[in-house]
């Protein structure tokens, strides 16, 4: 078995974005998703500092310090972009105008709770940013994360141990091992990488997994 790389997780998440969607990509792995947008799909990327229509990261020549995304990266705009203030950016989020938000996560519970904002780091301040708004507002909340922690602890759990970002809002999870939906009655595996058994995936998960009827192989290109 070959777990997905970060770029492969991003690729897989990108395939599910539908033509014409408005999408917010969180810091870290989610911003990589823009790189793997299928060529035939016209997507509008939103940033909570006041943009719809983020284009590619700025090269040295285009770099302009007045054009940044919510991760403080210098960006370009795509054709048809609009700029606005933060209250408007969050009206879009909270008001359900985003089709998809993709965020990183520490843990997701089988009822769709997400913990991703407070790592409880000793001697460091807290950082919440826009995550609580994003999970409360987007039509579809999708989380990218490793299936387990570095020490092998599960991140798909019955109940989150870290402070919550939102309650019952996660719809889908992309990990290095599987694509898992949060269904009404718990985790529902849609896809799993080749060379892994259901029992092995279950052993790496902290809550009961169900497997979808049309369950398939999580197949990604070399990247």
């Amino acid at each position: 078995m070959q777990p997905l790389t970060r770029h492969q997780i991003a690729w897989r998440a990108a395939q599910d974005l539908r033509e014409g969607s408005y999408v917010n990509l969180g810091l870290g792995l989610p911003v990589l998703v823009a790189n793997y947008k299928p060529a035939d799909r016209d997507l509008m990327f939103h940033s909570e500092n006041g943009i719809v229509g983020i284009g590619p990261i700025a090269g040295e020549i285009e770099e302009d310090p007045d054009f940044v995304d919510a991760g403080s990266q210098k960006i370009t705009l795509s054709e048809g972009a609009a700029l606005f203030d933060s209250t408007q950016a969050f009206a879009m989020i909270r008001g359900g105008h985003l089709d998809v938000t993709l965020l990183g996560g520490f843990e997701v519970s089988e009822t769709g709770d997400l913990a991703n904002w407070d790592a409880k780091m000793a001697h460091k301040g807290q950082l919440v940013g826009g995550a609580m708004d994003l999970v409360a507002g987007a039509k579809s909340v999708r989380v990218t994360m490793q299936h387990t922690t570095k020490t092998g602890e599960p991140r798909l759990v019955e109940k989150c141990s870290y402070p919550l970002t939102g309650i019952g809002t996660v719809n889908r999870i992309y990990t290095d091992l599987a694509v898992v939906d949060v269904a009404d009655n718990g985790f529902l595996v849609r896809e799993m990488i080749a060379g892994l058994t259901r029992e092995e995936l279950q052993a790496k998960s902290g809550a009961t997994l169900m497997f979808a009827e049309n369950f398939g192989t999580l197949d990604v290109p070399e990247l």
Binding site: D66, R94, L127, M132, D133, G137
Partner: protein, 231 residues
């Protein structure tokens, strides 16, 4: 004749002192009023309240403000310093000497707008059921739990913008705007620093902050450091 342009920081910051509360615009380096932040660093005012997205960009650019423990309260969405070290303000917080009110970013923006718009409080689904809603009134709307959030107002707002005119009208470039409009609305005194404060009025349809919200325009070159995005 209405002319909100001022020639000195002293005039711009008239009334600023011990106990003042300040809304500071800026996100990822864009729209950050570096000149006015530096001016605040150069005062001796203490017991300040800062209301801003992230503490880091003030602490990185004007370290004396926190090094001298002149801030007693921060309302923000991000209070984590870079790297593994503990910043001055984190030490002050860990010592119990700095109150940090952590607010989800959309609620942060909306509470400031509400302060400026005469809306004393509103319900929002954001944060319901999380520890940031602890102690707050919660009520269900259409089956969705929502938190009652209070308006934020302050003595001053400081903002950087690409352009302003003598009526106080402001126009932003790129992503400078972020919290600027809401902050200008919510402050008793709003100060905008800009490179471009010529005599010509900004066309009425192109105004991003109507001048009614702006008290002083301070023409000054951009003091943004090269690494502004990172601090």
């Amino acid at each position: 004749m209405i002319d909100k342009r001022v020639k000195s920081l002293e005039v711009a910051l008239d009334g600023f002192g011990d106990g003042s509360s300040v809304l500071v615009n800026g996100f990822g380096g864009a729209g950050v009023p570096f000149t006015l932040i530096k001016a605040i660093e150069n005062t001796s005012a203490t017991n300040l309240t800062l209301i801003l997205n992230s503490i880091r960009f003030v602490d990185g650019f004007a370290p004396q403000i926190f090094a001298a423990r002149r801030v007693s309260k921060v309302i923000c969405t991000a209070a984590r310093s870079r790297g593994h070290n503990t910043a001055n303000y984190e030490h002050q917080w860990l010592d119990g000497d700095l109150e940090i009110e952590m607010v989800p970013q959309g609620t942060f923006a909306e509470r400031i707008r509400a302060g400026g718009a005469g809306i004393p409080a509103f319900f929002t689904p954001t944060g319901a059921g999380t520890e940031l809603a602890d102690g707050k009134e919660t009520r269900d709307f259409n089956g969705k739990p929502c938190v009652l959030e209070q308006a934020i107002t302050a003595d001053f707002a400081i903002i950087r913008a690409a352009q302003a005119d003598r009526w106080g009208n402001v126009r932003f470039r790129g992503t400078q705007g972020n919290f600027g409009l809401a902050m200008a609305m919510a402050a008793k005194t709003t100060i905008v620093e800009t490179d471009d404060a010529g005599d010509k009025a900004i066309p009425p349809e192109d105004v991003h902050i109507p001048g009614i919200y702006v008290d002083h325009v301070f023409p000054h070159e951009d003091m943004r450091p090269a690494n502004a995005g990172g601090i």
